[in-house]
Amino acid sequence: MRNNSTNPRRFWSLLLLSLLCPTLLLACGDPTATIVPATSSLSTTSATTTTVPPTTGIAAPTTTTVATSTVVPATATPIPTTTAASSISTNLTDGCVTNYDPNTDYFPQKATLKYANGFKVEYFKNYKVITVLTPWRDAKETFQYVLVQCGTPAPKGFDKALSLNVPSKSLISMSTTYLPYLDNLGLLDKLVGVDSAQYVSNPTVKKLVADKKVAEVGNGAKVNVEKVLDLKPDLIMTYGLGDPQNDAHPKLLEAGLKVVLNGDYMDSTPLGRAEWGKFLALFFNREGQAQKQFDEVATRYETLASKARVATPKPTVLANAAYKGTWYMPGGNSYSGKTLVDAGGAYYWADDKSSGSLPLTFEAVFDKASQADIWLYQDYAGSLEDIKAADERYSSFAAFKNNKIYNNDLKVNENGGNDIYESGVANPDVVLADLVKIFHPELAADHQFVYYRLLAPKK
């Protein structure tokens, strides 16, 4: 008969050791990354998360404003005012400087940021420094870009930053959210590549791809580096997840390309996210135009929101749907949650502080919100019957009984790409208008639905 004790002390110490080792490795190594991108800021619903921020805006004449810079670089101090020895009146959107004058302020049109807090820009006479503060969730690093006016000398002292010449002449866009801004600024001719055209809604871009004027280079870790090198782009703009396994930028940077990280999806306010259009514009010296376009959007948004927020009666609002017993509800501080509040809805979870999604139980949601006036379903559904077929318990919701379920799939392309995640990001005022039309129809009587529709019973 074997000895009864399997030497318990040894067993426990071995167990402890085997648990410590991987934990230590994890702590010292890279933060664990998952295949699934951060659900919070990417998804407003449990359905789609196109990680690409769209841009649309109307070209506008330049406006000069004072640069807001908070970080002071080591070597030089930024220009506080527009007073300069000699000046030009607009940013150079084409071509390079031939006679460099060190006293000239080459960027009379400057971008100022009011809502976006994910990046900063500081201006110097012939270069601008952009710092991306939150490239991804829980990022431990920031990224700095030095944009040097073409034809002028590069500044010293920015060894850690990526330096490029502006205006860029060609661009690869790795997210659909950048495309609307390109369109509005008239920069589509600079586009040479996209990650994938499958979910693009912008018709011009689609045609360019079809005509082979714009190439598809693959996204994330699957990016075709050789193809990108072949296209010789001045600039590649992409988002990052902080996951080296699934990000495109490490590979591209290694290949010596100019890759810039756009952190728009991390911004949790609608206007903040839309303001990233200026980020894009900076690389083409078109921030003046972008500024004007954004101001119009912001004004429309704020005007409508200020009316909607105080309008009564406030309908109670429920969002998203359950998936296998779990209901991913937008947090109170999330992009989606904020929009609902701005549109004048009484959102049950408005007080919640999280900027991501809350995994709630179906039961808890039912208890709190089964009597909601309006339900923004925001998932795959054709008609009311589909909702019931998905889970028969949905038919117990008041919104189902009263036919007040809306879905945000009015503008979806043939492959399932939803335009709300493309142009909707650049035009939060339009999204807001849709929602206000749902919550307070009298405030948006002239507006036609662009992204949202009421679900009807199947014919």
Partner: protein, 380 residues
């Protein structure tokens, strides 16, 4: 050939063994050796767990109100009726059925392959289901011209589509496995083929994931977390009969499973038709494990751990007591894990697979380590 009732070992008196009564006086014979009393204990525990799962949940409902609802009365808050009847009750029933079904399949696989590490998915059933679900979920949204539009249409139906796809995947795997099992001599070969099949389907799913959009991956991963809460009453109308028929078939296999404990050769010499036995064992396993995976997602841990737990607690490998034991204990463990995953009162939910493993693994390990002789845990 009758055995004459005499012992002729020298120096032992001749003892006539004619009646059982006289034997009781000199009784070296064990009773059945089956701890039937434990089964009663398990049944009581099951009732308690069931009651608890109705009372505890993310919404705080006083037990009195729960009882009121069950008896058809009106509780303090109107939503509570729906919560108890449409959410908690089907979830509890699902958990019990799933727990029992997976544990029974695990037991059968461990006996068929004489392998303590076998679980219900060792034949690749879960892989087949995953592939079905992956094809549907990851192709979602591609309506219209896409060649996968049929599957995308399925996904439009949400839950039902996933259940259908998963069942289809499991069923096809089952057919394949049955086909192979009739043509293969040794059980080990069947086991290895099942594992290989799992690798292949896993690889295909990986490729599908690689080319998918982030939110679709998210949906697929969410399916992989497993949950009992997604099964509604109308789905239970299919789920319950399927599981119950699987359990009935397994119950009828008790005798064959017992004789398989001796190994394939001895089993055959005792009159067991190996091919037929294998057919029914695989069929009932696939039916149980496949339907649980279809309705609840892939749920691990139960299939491998509960049989071991029962063997250790009941101190027997006899299926006459293991079968009912495993059914009861499987249901209990599933219910308890679900209660914990709900994090009562918090409104947030944890994935069931994680909770089960986190709580269950230490407990099972502790129980098995307490066995004096580790080998006795599986007769090795």
């Amino acid at each position: 050939m009758k055995i004459t009732p005499t012992i002729s070992t020298p120096a032992q008196p001749k003892v006539e063994i004619a009646e059982l009564v006289s034997e009781e006086e000199v009784n070296p014979w064990p009773a059945t050796g089956l701890r039937r009393l434990w089964l009663i204990g398990f049944a009581v525990l099951l009732l308690a767990a069931f009651a608890l799962s109705l009372i505890l949940g993310s919404v705080n409902i006083p037990p009195g109100d729960v009882l009121t609802v069950l008896l058809g009365g009106t509780p303090g808050r109107s939503t509570w009726t729906d919560i108890v009847l449409k959410f908690r009750l089907p979830k509890a029933l699902t958990a019990m059925l799933a727990g029992a079904g997976l544990s029974v399949s695990g037991l059968q696989m461990q006996t068929l392959f004489s392998n303590p590490l076998a679980d219900p998915f060792v034949l690749g059933i879960s892989s087949g289901a995953s592939l079905g679900v992956a094809l549907v979920v990851l192709s979602a949204g591609a309506v219209g011209l896409s060649s996968l539009s049929f599957l995308a249409g399925l996904s439009l139906l949400g839950n039902i589509g996933i259940v259908a796809a998963s069942s289809l995947g499991s069923a096809l795997t089952l057919v394949l496995v049955l086909f192979v099992s009739q043509r293969v001599q040794s059980a080990v070969t069947l086991l290895i083929l099942g594992i290989m099949f799992g690798y292949v389907t896993g690889a295909i799913v990986s490729i599908l994931l690689y080319f998918s959009l982030a939110d679709r991956i998210q949906a697929y991963v969410a399916w992989g977390f497993g949950s009992f809460g997604g099964v509604t009453w109308s789905q239970l109308q299919i789920f319950a009969p399927v599981i119950i028929s699987g359990l009935v078939i397994s119950y009828l296999l008790i005798k064959w499973l017992n004789v398989l404990l001796l190994g394939d050769n001895y089993a055959r010499s005792l009159g067991l038709e190996l091919k037929q036995a294998r057919f029914w064992i695989v069929l009932s396993t696939a039916l149980l494990a496949g339907s649980v995976t279809a309705f609840c997602g892939p749920i691990g841990f139960l299939g491998i751990a509960v049989p071991h737990l029962c063997r250790a607690l009941l101190r027997s490998s006899d299926h006459r007591i293991l079968m009912p034991g495993v059914i009861l204990v499987g249901a209990i463990v599933a219910l308890l894990a679900d209660i914990v995953a709900q994090l009562p009162g918090s409104g947030v939910i944890l994935p069931i697979n994680a909770v089960m493993a986190l709580l269950g693994a230490p407990i099972v390990s502790w129980v098995i380590l307490r066995q004096r002789n580790l080998k006795a845990a599986f007769g090795r």
